[in-house]
């Protein structure tokens, strides 16, 4: 596997390598072939949008990348670690170590304050309570919500919730940030604010994948991968539109 690294034309470090990925779901007697051989590489520091209409397989792809689901066939190498033979315990450890998730519906734990939500991944990393809280407060500060640390999710607006979720995803210092329709539940202005935050995190060097079906959101990334019927139909670098220009 390390051979692939040296064969690369430039010096950039490959973060995600996907080869010939297949996935199908059993639907009673028949099976639905969702991913039909996906190949692509993502280098460190990229900001990639995965686009496609519903049913194109983009969410399935993201779930496999996020180790929330397992591919039937193909290789997945994350930061030079081959992801295979995953049991739940191993997957949980990899997720905790490598990945940060941002969901469309935020998925904050409703009885925990913003601070506690952000410190939860650190709890599962075994970080001590005091350090955990300091670190979580620091991340909340970075998304501009330090003053909201003690508030419950129900006391926050949609945009604030998503920023807490992003802070939570960042808290575990993941290699890759996976965002599944991060702006799907937000209005345009708030969407741009969230994208602005994502762009800033990317500028700091974090690799980010954003699944979206909104072209304007996709344009704010550096590269767009278009999926249709389980195959990649287009993979191009784009000129990034800065979200801050709209805000």
């Amino acid at each position: 596997m390390k051979k692939g690294l040296s064969l690369r034309p430039n010096n950039k470090v490959s973060m995600i390598q996907i080869k010939n990925l297949h996935k199908s779901y059993k639907m009673g007697a028949s099976s639905l072939h969702v991913l039909k051989g996906i190949n692509f590489n993502i280098e460190e520091g990229e900001l990639v949008a995965i686009m496609g209409s519903s049913g194109s397989g983009k969410s399935t792809l993201l779930n496999i990348l996020g180790m929330l689901d397992i591919a039937d066939e193909g290789d997945y190498i994350l930061d030079n670690v081959p992801i295979k033979n995953l049991n739940e315990t191993k997957a949980a450890k990899y997720r905790n170590k490598f990945l940060g998730f941002v969901f469309q519906s935020f998925n904050l734990i409703n009885y925990k304050s913003a601070l506690e939500n952000v410190s939860l991944p650190l709890y599962y990393q075994g970080v001590k309570r005091k350090e955990r809280q300091e670190s979580a407060l620091d991340y909340l500060d970075r998304v501009g919500l330090k003053d909201w640390a003690t508030h419950l999710p129900s006391e926050l607006s949609g945009g604030q919730k998503q920023r807490v979720a992003i802070a939570r995803a960042m808290a575990s210092k993941p290699k890759v940030l996976l965002a599944d329709e991060p702006t799907g539940a937000l209005d345009t202005t708030t969407s741009y604010e969230v994208m602005d935050l994502i762009q800033k995190i990317n500028e700091e060097g974090k690799t980010i994948l954003v699944v979206t079906h909104e072209p304007d959101i996709a344009q704010m990334c550096k590269r767009i991968v278009k999926l249709k019927d389980g195959v990649i139909i287009e993979d191009k670098k784009v000129k990034q539109v800065l979200a801050s220009s709209y805000v």
């Binding site: 779930n63 996020g66 315990t89 998925n107 925990k112 506690e116 939860l120």
Partner: protein, 409 residues
């Protein structure tokens, strides 16, 4: 288990989900509470029962003379058998292995008077051993003693109700009462759990009675207790040997069912003990039923709790919680809640039982109680089953893929 961070996480979860905590805690507390109350009331019923049926010493044997119904060794049928003083000595000599206490009985009824009060009471002439056979409880003074017997003293021990009738508020000790035409000195007052009838008896030395009746040596009955450690089998052997001995001595046909009667409560005792055991079974059955109901209750709550938390568990897993840590969290939480609330239920149940005491005596429930072992065992059972009931859905929730759990709205 002793990870402080994990406990903190659990306390946080518990304190921020008060309704859920209350529901599961309440189920367990109620289950244990009802179990303890029912079990305790059952025991109260048993107490009452034991008092009803076990008035005399449980190990007493009563020997009655009767009339023969068969001719034997030249004697005609229909002969009246009588006990004499020598029979007492014979029993003492021949059956010392079985014997604990021994006393004759000569029952008479006589008009008894003190000053202007008079009434008819049954007078029972006995020896000191009678106190133990009848389980007489002395309230004041003393019982008939051996020197009363030897010197044929005119002393009497009177029942509580006799004292009440004749002496009103006066202390009867040392006063003289007339039984028939003879004056007796009252030396003691007794009570008896056997009821009012027993407490209207007057005990006097049997030798005195025989002296009054022209110096004869006749006895009505012989009562005795056997040594308890012999058990039921020993008591039966004693009875058989006693019957055989007296039939031979009094020349009664060995096949004659009459002539001599032996009432051996060992048999009755066994029956009443069996009844008590049945009662115990009923009590246990009721208790077990309550416990099962409690277990089903806590199981339902646990299934509901885990179901409600599916999404939260999915989030935790996406953030890096391992299946093991998810199960551990749910179990530790549920065991913690059930332990605390089980103890609360236990505490209140015992308090209520303590307060009932004699208040329900009219409903045949006296001094309900539950022994500590049973109550703790019941609590632990509920905790264990609460744990198992939590483990199964927790296990399932932990193996659900986070993506499925997250989709669960």
């Amino acid at each position: 288990m002793f990870n402080r961070d994990r406990w903190r996480e659990i306390f946080e979860t518990i304190s921020k989900n008060k309704l859920r905590t209350f529901l599961s805690g309440f189920t367990v507390a109620l289950g244990i509470f009802i179990f303890i109350i029912l079990f305790g009331l059952g025991n109260g019923l048993k107490n009452t029962f034991q008092e009803f049926f076990l008035d005399d010493a449980g190990n007493a044997i009563f020997l009655y003379p009767g009339k023969t119904s068969k001719p034997y060794k030249g004697y005609k049928a229909n002969r009246r058998i009588e006990f004499k003083n020598e029979d007492l000595k014979d029993i003492e000599e021949n059956f010392s292995f079985f014997l604990e206490y021994l006393s004759p009985r000569i029952d008479r009824s006589a008009s008894t008077s003190y000053k202007n009060e008079s009434n008819s009471y049954s007078t029972r002439a006995i020896s000191p051993g009678h106190q133990y056979v009848e389980k007489t409880i002395l309230m004041k003074g003393r019982y008939i003693n051996q020197s009363d017997i030897n010197e044929k003293k005119k002393t009497a021990v009177i029942g509580r109700l006799v004292a009440k009738d004749l002496f009103k508020t006066e202390s009867p000790i040392g006063k003289y009462i007339n039984i028939g035409s003879t004056a007796f000195k009252v030396v003691g007052v007794f009570q008896d759990d056997g009821g009012d009838r027993e407490e209207r008896n007057i005990y006097i030395p049997f030798t005195t009675r025989q002296l009054i009746e022209k110096g004869n040596d006749k006895l009505n009955q012989i009562v005795m207790t056997y040594r308890k450690e012999l058990g039921h089998a020993g008591a039966m052997a004693f009875e058989t040997a006693l019957k055989k001995y007296f039939k031979e001595k009094k020349s009664i046909d060995p096949t004659d069912p009459n002539g001599i009667y032996i009432a051996n409560p060992a048999d009755d005792l066994k029956q009443s003990q069996q009844f008590a055991i049945v009662l115990q079974y009923i009590v246990s059955f009721v208790g077990l039923g309550t416990l099962i109901a409690g277990i089903i209750g806590i199981s339902n709550i646990m299934v509901f709790v885990v179901k409600e938390r599916t999404k939260e568990l999915g989030i935790r897993k996406a953030l890096g919680a391992t299946p093991k840590s998810v199960i551990q969290m749910i179990l530790q939480e549920s065991v913690f809640i059930t332990t605390i609330s089980g103890y609360v239920g236990l505490f209140f149940g015992v308090i209520v039982l303590e307060n009932i005491g004699l208040k329900l005596e009219d409903y045949f429930i006296k001094n309900p109680y539950i022994d500590l072992g049973t109550s703790i065992a019941a609590t632990i059972t509920l905790i264990v089953f609460g744990g198992i009931a939590g483990y199964i859905p927790a296990k399932r929730a932990s193996s659900i893929k986070p993506i499925v759990a997250l989709r669960d709205e």
